[in-house]
């Protein structure tokens, strides 16, 4: 069947039936969430177990079940590999992984997929695992990719049932209260897994530091936790910043960042109370920096800045340029340190951030947001999931959630990367629909969604280089000959869910080239 964007999607994926994407806010629900497990306790119970194997045994984990993880340690995570290795040693098979994201450090999962320990993955796959899957790897069912808010919703609605949640924590007490803020190796908020802890049949906290009761802040709470395991290492905080925090030096990229910041400055939202999403990645960081400079010059105090927390946001808070940071995950050690000490640096869980089926999302309070793109198209659709050769490379992250919420969503992307054109007639995969994208900024100029003639007028008045998106495309296309094109077969490798649980696009296996 075809969804509202004209993308051809199957009616079933694996053994679940598919609901087609119908529009960014077309689906409205009311009713009740899925039930959470309930279990009484008595004083004096011991929850600490001597090893991961003992915990896995105690949870009753069986072949075919689902285990979940968070990604707050990013490239530095040591827990996912340890747990899956332990499962493999215990002879478990056919497990379904449900991580919030996977990274390059999890490349060895490919071996576990090949040997059948892991047979399904639901979650954002960055790097080698994604590449393996899109070559038609040995997964029993297509992967499902969800945004941060979409994953939370899928758990609460019962779309995904978790058997055991394994939660990495840099500090925990023996009763199960756990956090990522304190301890020797803090990683920042671990609230991505709050919903896992509440809905999983069993919850195991994995920590490298047992603190006296009560360990705080209370990110993960004792009432949700069955077992605690102490291991030597949960993660390397040095590696949470990997790749995302290099400030770009490229003149073309700095120009994109400058134009993106200038676009916000020229918009009606640039006034006291301005709220925006910063994010990581060279261009977003530079744009955030330029915007901060403009705010300082214009003596504007922002309401809140949202994102993966970064040094730049912490500096803005200290300078009084924003009142609050809403922080879902920390992108560098300075953000981690600030979270522990500054009450205006607030931990935000993905439910609060972006749960579509809730009575409010923090992203809906955003004025402006800077987001990246692997590809964009002339209809303003954005792809962040697949490479132009069809390979599944990146997760959705908060892309959909932020774009859907912000009053002015600014996509920053070069018009061309090496010989790869970035502006296409049709993106390889739709992650975020043009319906929620307002502005695309490239080094060659700013394209404004025809829905937003108001913004176009503001930009023109400010002397910004407003260009038609087709014109930008033609200019970039003039620099490189057309690419070879992958020919996709029928087999679905992954489904891309919109934040409401409908399917916005699917990734198909590449069968040949033309």
């Amino acid at each position: 069947m075809k969804n509202a964007l004209g993308r051809e999607i199957p009616t079933t994926i694996g053994n679940r039936s598919v609901e087609a994407y119908a529009g960014a806010f077309a689906k409205q629900r009311s009713g009740f969430k899925a039930p959470q497990p309930q279990k009484s306790s008595v004083p004096g119970e011991n929850k600490v177990l001597p090893s991961l194997e003992a915990a896995i045994e105690a949870t009753g984990l069986k072949d075919g079940m689902t285990i979940s993880f968070h990604h707050s340690f990013r490239e530095g995570d040591r827990v996912i590999n340890q747990v899956v290795d332990a499962c493999a040693r215990m002879g478990l098979k056919d497990l379904r992984l449900f991580p919030t994201a996977l990274f390059g450090t999890h490349a060895k999962l490919v071996d576990h997929i090949k040997s059948g320990v892991v047979s399904r993955i639901e979650g954002s796959m960055n790097g080698p695992v994604g590449a393996f899957i899109s070559q038609g790897g040995k997964l029993r069912e297509p992967a499902t990719l969800r945004s941060h808010g979409g994953r939370w919703r899928a758990i609460e609605s019962g779309d995904v049932a978790i058997d055991v949640a394994f939660i990495a924590a840099s500090q925990a007490d023996a009763y199960g209260n756990a956090n990522g803020i304190n301890g020797r190796t803090p990683c920042g908020p671990i609230t991505f897994c709050m919903v896992d802890a509440q809905y999983a049949r069993k919850t195991v906290v994995v920590t490298n530091e047992l603190a006296p009761y009560p360990a705080y802040p209370l990110e993960i709470q004792q009432g949700w936790v069955d077992y605690i395991v102490v291991v030597d290492e949960v993660g390397d905080p040095e590696q949470i910043a990997s790749g995302t925090l290099e400030m770009t030096k490229s003149p073309a990229r700095l120009r994109i960042a400058r134009l993106a910041a200038d676009a916000v400055v020229a918009s009606p939202y640039f006034k006291d109370g301005l709220s925006f999403q910063g994010g990581a990645g060279g261009v977003s960081l530079a744009a955030t920096m330029y915007l901060a400079e403009a705010m300082e010059k214009a003596k504007i105090v922002g309401g809140f800045v949202m994102g993966g927390g970064t040094r730049i946001m912490v500096e803005m808070l200290h300078k009084g340029l924003v009142r609050t940071i809403l922080d879902g995950q920390a992108f560098d050690p300075i953000a981690v340190a600030s979270l522990g000490v500054d009450p205006a640096h607030v931990i935000m869980n993905p439910g609060l951030y972006a749960n579509y089926d809730s009575r409010g999302c923090a992203t809906y309070m955003l004025d402006a947001a800077f987001l990246g793109a692997t590809e964009v198209d002339v209809d303003f659709n954005v792809n962040v999931n697949t490479h132009s050769d069809g390979r599944l490379l990146h997760g959705i992250g908060g892309h959909q959630d932020v774009a859907a919420g912000a009053k002015m969503t600014v996509i920053t992307a070069p018009s061309i990367r090496g010989r790869l054109p970035v502006i296409l007639d049709r993106v390889t995969t739709v992650t975020t629909p043009g319906e929620v994208v307002d502005v695309i900024v490239t080094e060659r100029g700013i394209a404004v969604n025809p829905r937003r003639d108001d913004l176009k007028a503001c930009f023109r008045d400010a002397g910004l280089p407003v260009r038609d998106i087709a014109e930008l495309k033609a200019e970039a296309d003039g620099l490189v000959r057309p690419l070879g094109k992958p020919v996709f077969g029928d087999e679905v490798v992954a489904a891309i869910e919109w934040r409401d649980g409908t399917v916005i696009d699917v990734v198909r296996k590449v069968e040949g080239w033309q």
Binding site: L254, G418, R419, L420, E443, L479, V480, L483, G484
Partner: protein, 389 residues
């Protein structure tokens, strides 16, 4: 790849090309993802070879994400290195002519043999982009650089002026002229100009090249760069050497080395004032030296305003990030523009009524003030005609 015929590099945005002459043509392409890129690269290679004549041999391309014009330039340079009798490719271009006193508040330098740093160089709104074949290009890369600059000039539509800084004539500058003139830059910057003869010799080379390649005679401006003690002392004869001279530039880095000075605003004052006076006496523009610390925005702004106060019309930039500060310094203020317009209008009225003396509000306006006002009006008209960004 065999030694001696390799052109280009393995840097991002570049490609490495070699030609081993032989009895038949074979093209080998290596690229990050052949399925995506190989066909396009082959097309560019084949078209380029076709323009060069019947080339026989094994041509190898190792691509690192290079744009089409970079591939074409590398192929041409590799073929002409291996087969020196091969004629140059003449790009098909239409370039708008520039006026002798076009606004030149900023002249942005870009290294002529670094494709990655050349991408999008036309986008930063510099009044004048200066593609460099001199200091930023190592001697072994000079030949490839002039071909790359030619292809860049042929492929990219520059919104404002684009110039080429050649090498001194005796050090390859004549070859530079013969190559790049094919792609019709607005002007040529001559480094280390020290005498009238240097400029006249370049003018002759330009005239020869223009005639040989069918360009309108005299259509290429000259920017002598004064960066030695001798050059500064001969500023007057250099500025007035040839009608092609449109702007005289100062190069402080080499100048301080030549005279043994430390770089301060005081130590450069004589050279700067000399150059401004010489340029203005000859009726041409003066452009100040570059500011080397790209992270020091305050220092840049201070130096740009100093140069403006001295009478310079613009200043060099080594990074696009410096351009806004230069434009801020060298754009006349609203007040200056209004005053200038009033003076020019008063002069026109006086002329219409056959009155010799011009007065505004009882104050007499003398000739130099009127000339200055005319320059400001011309500049502001040209700036307002330019695309806003």
């Amino acid at each position: 790849m065999p030694e001696g015929t390799i052109v280009g590099s393995d840097a991002k945005g570049d490609c490495r090309v070699s030609l081993v002459p032989g009895k038949s043509l074979a093209i080998e392409v290596a690229t990050e993802d052949p399925r995506l890129f190989e066909r396009g690269i082959r097309e560019v290679v084949e078209e380029t070879l076709a323009k060069l004549g019947r080339i026989q041999g094994t041509l190898s391309v190792a691509d690192k994400g290079s744009l089409d014009y970079v591939i074409a330039a590398r192929v041409e340079a590799a073929v002409r290195t291996a087969l020196p009798k091969t004629p140059s490719i003449v790009p098909a271009i239409e370039r708008r002519a520039s006026e002798k006193d076009a606004p030149r508040r900023s002249r942005l330098y870009a290294p002529g043999n670094n494709p990655r740093l050349l991408v999008g160089i036309e986008l930063h709104r510099a009044d004048c982009v200066l593609l460099d074949l001199e200091d930023s290009v190592p001697p072994t890369e000079k030949a490839a650089a002039r071909v790359l600059v030619k292809h860049l000039l042929g492929a990219i539509d520059f919104p404002n002026e684009v110039w080429v800084r050649i090498n001194p004539l005796a050090l390859g500058g004549a070859d530079d002229v013969r190559e790049v003139i094919l792609a019709r830059p607005h002007g040529v910057a001559l480094p280390k100009a020290e005498s009238r003869d240097d400029v006249v010799a370049l003018s002759k080379e330009l005239a020869k090249a223009e005639q040989a390649f069918g360009a309108p005679l005299g259509s290429t401006w000259i920017m002598p760069i004064l960066e030695t003690a001798k050059g500064v002392l001969h500023a007057e004869e250099i500025a007035a050497a040839d009608p092609r001279v449109a702007v005289v530039a100062f190069g402080a880095e080499d100048f301080t080395r030549d005279v043994g000075a430390r770089r301060t605003s005081e130590s450069l004052l004589f050279a700067r004032s000399m150059i401004v006076a010489a340029a203005k006496a000859a009726g041409v523009q003066a452009s100040d030296t570059v500011y080397a610390d790209i992270d020091d925005e305050v220092g840049l702004a201070v130096e740009a305003h100093l140069a403006r106060d001295l009478g310079f019309d613009g200043k060099g930039a080594i990074h696009p990030g410096q351009i806004p500060a230069l434009h801020a310094a060298f754009t006349p203020s609203e007040k200056e523009m209004d005053e200038a317009r009033k003076i020019v209008t008063a002069a026109e009225e006086a002329e219409a009524h056959g009155i010799g003396a011009i007065a505004i509000g009882g104050k007499m306006i003398d000739r130099p003030v009127l000339e200055r006002a005319r320059r400001v009006v011309r500049l502001s008209d040209r700036l307002s005609r330019k695309e806003s960004r």
